[in-house]
Symmetry: C2
Subunit: 404 residues, 2 copies
Amino acid sequence: MPAVSQRAQSMPASPIRKLMPYAESAKERGITVLHLNIGQPDIESPPEFWRAVRTTDIKTLEYSHSAGIAALRAKAAEFYSRQGIIVSADEVIVCTAGSEALSFAMLGCLNPGDEVIVPEPLYANYLGFSCAAEVNVVPLTTRIEHDFRLPSSEEFEAKVTPKTKAVLINNPGNPTGSVYTRGQLEQLRDLALRHDLFLISDEVYRDFNYTSEPVVSVLQLGGLERHAVMVDSVSKRFSLCGARIGFFVSRNPELNAGALKLAQARLAPPTLEQIGVLAALEAPASYFDTIREEYRSRRDLVVSRLRSMPGVRVPQIDGAFYAMVELPIDDGDRFCQWLLESFQHQGHTVMFAPASGFYETPGVGHRQVRIAYVLNQERLDLAMDCLEVALAQYPGRLEPAARA
Amino acid sequence: MPAVSQRAQSMPASPIRKLMPYAESAKERGITVLHLNIGQPDIESPPEFWRAVRTTDIKTLEYSHSAGIAALRAKAAEFYSRQGIIVSADEVIVCTAGSEALSFAMLGCLNPGDEVIVPEPLYANYLGFSCAAEVNVVPLTTRIEHDFRLPSSEEFEAKVTPKTKAVLINNPGNPTGSVYTRGQLEQLRDLALRHDLFLISDEVYRDFNYTSEPVVSVLQLGGLERHAVMVDSVSKRFSLCGARIGFFVSRNPELNAGALKLAQARLAPPTLEQIGVLAALEAPASYFDTIREEYRSRRDLVVSRLRSMPGVRVPQIDGAFYAMVELPIDDGDRFCQWLLESFQHQGHTVMFAPASGFYETPGVGHRQVRIAYVLNQERLDLAMDCLEVALAQYPGRLEPAARA
């Protein structure tokens, strides 16, 4: 019997999805599971999207250009330029979601065995893409007690080796909710220039920003023309997770040529979804204002409920729609499984993502869980009720003395 | 300036698309380009697909399951079973087109540096995926004078090394139009068992079969439960190239577990297109009968026109919708470019894919071009007129004496 490849064996299972069988089993027992484990917003996708896909008069659904429909590339460039990120259409490659843009960045910037420094906790799927690309993720641990802020230049410096080829950040952060400041990013820019590293920035949550300052894109930092790669997606911004449309954006012509060859190998991104997204990009700015205010209220609700629970540590959360929190429990994996297997509160339970899958360094953050606040406030409130009751009942809870 | 990765640099440009700038320039000069360079059928996609995507009452386009919508996996398994390929829904993973299924097969079966034996001329994108996966393609040349038939067991045997982990075939073949017989496939099965190799079979053209015998799937060969992987797609069968929906099908539970982890890393295939494909799979069998008859007529037309042209060598073509032919010219790349740059016939020219990109062995097949007969018969006839006139005018044509 032929052996499955090493990379398929060592590929991490998704921490977001690995508890799904327990959730399905809870549902079979009649329990309502409140899904705060996955970043699937409940907001309706823009009507412009639906109108475009419903009214298209295409008869044959053909391949698009490998880099995406020309009008969509132009529209995306215009969209970015309105946000102060000045790029041209040929610096934008339409991808099958941010996932593929990330994969193009990994494959295009790094050789097998090369190292990419990534602040952790990190978006778990970075580990999957790096495994497929045979690239080594070098984690740089950030701390909940420091609000998971971007590490200093010196901390990054200490991780640089001759194999380092890139730094990968997620801003605003999943799972941390951090938004990096211009000053922090400029330090990172200087490091990238000093060591000639690619700076890959996953900015899919850019519009989910609850601070008074705009989020600074890596493409807005001077001097990084050859070093900066922005990974973007419409999944969160337009509540179009299922559309699988994202963007790889860079001003480095050699890198773009490489990404285009990767794009040609898989032929094209989905055509119909591109047609819908082209229309969605024309949605009025007010479409997103409402959404941001809704998420701000959700954040406020979740943070305030969590802060009222004894022994729960909540960092400052400025963006995205996640809270990485530390609970007074023995272990996040066990707790999340117990919630699905052995707990209910008035016929409900809640599903979180254990933090273990978001750390590459073993053992770090083992009391943490990630909460995606993607449900309406009534259901979020109910989910927080569940958590509060569960923390009192959970056999592996830490008593106040042990928490010190 | 950081260097782009080696794999991005060595990634082959798509031979199907690299001449596009010349085609665009011809169009700007007012010339109509007949596109026989890419496997984009002109047939209309099934009305069932359009009805489903237009009438869905979804408001939020959510992620599907990483392995695809459960109903679609079940429907695909039922579809295969009707064709005599008995698989269960959990042996089917929905992919973002056959491209992704191929990529999962490469990444899941082979480690970096491992070898996969592939008969050539081969589907050019195999080279792109193998490059991204750091896998070495070992080509096994097949000959136009033998109708590109599957090499014998002995010929495969001669290519096996300790690094060989898989054989990859395309049946029916792109670019060759070959359909492999059960006897040939059984020889290959025995080889796979003898050397414990994965046998990956790209069967996206299975329904484009003009022989009197059904195409034999690799999943219909006994004893290969752990070794066989079928790569499939709806792109050609349902004229849904732009939908980007395909299937990875295997009965090997370890391999399927690995493929599922790869699937989880990229989250999900496009949701809306899955909804449409689920409906398309319910199209009556007669939908495809009409298409097959149309393609059979196109094949007959193209083969008969080509056989009437002096010095043109045409193999037997039993399936898919391609003809790999040898022309009385100095070089396929130069000829294809000349057709776009310097030729026209009554305001038209024709675009083919030069064969060089379909061979991994340098220099082989340099007088060959691939013709995709994906236009209606009137336009195909016009394209053949163009070719006939072009062969008489082309400065690099071989005179009859030189052809011997």
